[in-house]
Amino acid sequence: MRRVALAGLWPLLATAGLLLVVVGAWLRERTAPWRRYQDDPQVRAVVPSLTGQRELCLTCHWSIEEISPSHPVEVVGCVACHGGVGIALDEDLAHTGLIRNPGDLSVAAQTCGGSACHSGAPADHRDHLPRVERSIQATYAGAIAYVLRAFGVQPDSVARFGIYAVQSYEGPPDNGGRPVVEALAAFQPAPDAPPLVQQFAGNCLTCHLSAEAIQAPYFYRATGCSACHVLYDNDGLYKGGDPTLPRDEPGHMRRHELTTAIPYTQCNHCHNRGNYELPTMTFVPRADIPAPDYLNAIERRVHEYYQPIGQFTLCEWELDCVDCHTRREVMGDGYLYSSQRDARYTECRTCHGTLDAPPLSYTITDPDDLALRLAFLNPNLELQVGDTILMTDLGEPLPHVVWRGDRLELTMKATGQRYDVPLVLGSGCQQRPDQQESHYCHVCHAYERE
């Protein structure tokens, strides 16, 4: 009796089940995960001219800022730098093989350096990657050599080891006679090395281009090329437009942007952040940051920038690091140096000249001049053929220090603020002509941090 009553029910229920399936498909289609990022959800495809391959990344990352005007998304796309499966809208598949930071030195050869973009010919100044790989910021050779000498493992502070093994490279031939080394071996302390050297290897190799940043305010930064060219705020929070990136999770770039207008805060994510304590071989972060609230902006800057022991002049806290230190110094020039001391060659006189002569300068005649290229990359700089700009002893252009009539004008790369550069020539400077290196200048021109 009951069986009979239910006889027509099962087909009815099964049909209802099938209807639910079709409705379920409709629901799933309407609620595809990528739809949650857009108000008017649509698939956004780009076919970058560099690869010709369709990419759907912008479907989710639709309002991310363009990485830079010289890497427009219509040309470079996303995948050429970030890898991944660009035609998938599934988070996992799309991000298989994803390169979070294309500037990391372990992948830079295929990303930044790919298609000969930034590992091109030295003569064209397009050999950024091979130079950076040999720079002391990447090899950390100076610190290693210094520690090995301090603990008696080696007799002098000539670099023998780096973070990885590397050979000197055929860079620009003239480096002004600064001492270089031919090759570095990978630093790996022998088992019988002094315990403190072992400890140094374990604790202290955190400040080079391949080292992950310490995850704490003021330390957040990326690795490799991006360590300098992708800006991080001190709080490590993302403030750009990508709807997929969290706003409240520290450890992210400020915005998805590459820049050559690098403020001192960026350099400070590594530099001036603390000290290695030799007796214990541990890193001790500075205890005096952030600066106290009662300081004004300028005082803050001096405070947060320099460690209490620092000795510096007015322009060293008014300007940014990159206003004095050139690309050859910072990104390397292909030679392997034993220390910062050897890698650096800018002096006060590079801009201020000496008692006898104004600083070196030249007038731009070639429309392909490197100075014009550098100025083009920085929205704060304006430079034309015919302008007379300063150059270093080794002929590196300073595209931001320009003769305007009889005024020598410096434009800060990061802020665009302009200064007239005072010259030593004709001033009351009493320095001996044979003592023109910067440390002599500091004797009179030093400022003290309060």
Partner: protein, 172 residues
Amino acid sequence: MCAMPTNENEWPGEEDVEPLSRRKLFTGLRKALLAATGALAAGEAAQMMAHSSQPEPPESATAGKPEDYAAPSLTFVRDVRAYLVRDALGFYALDAVCSHLGCLVRAVGDGQNSPLLGFECPCHNSHYDAQGERISGPAPRGLRYLAVELDSTGNLIIHRDRETHPDDRLIA
């Protein structure tokens, strides 16, 4: 088949115990649900089939500098399927797509060595005069006038998606 036919309307062992109305209700409901399922599934399949990721044909194309064209002259611009005409007054562009069923019309005369007499359609023999006005054949109306402009670098651009007045000329 050596079978004795049984009552075809019944489930095995099923007698007339069940209220007829309930069975009817179940059957009716089932049919309605099935129809809804079918309609929805067909709609979903149709949506899928309607999808296309084929790139749209270009809406506009550049056609070089004005000085590349003699006056008078007539040039077919492939990318936008249009005739670029230069006459004594200036430039104008005529859509080469026939207003009948969309074949590309041929120019009669090239406007340079022989006078431009008009256009004819190879498909069903529609005729247009040199201004694109319909003369004969099944075409319902004349050829469209497409906007011609100069871009910032001084190149001519023809816009397929913008129609203009027959008297409009780009004076270069």
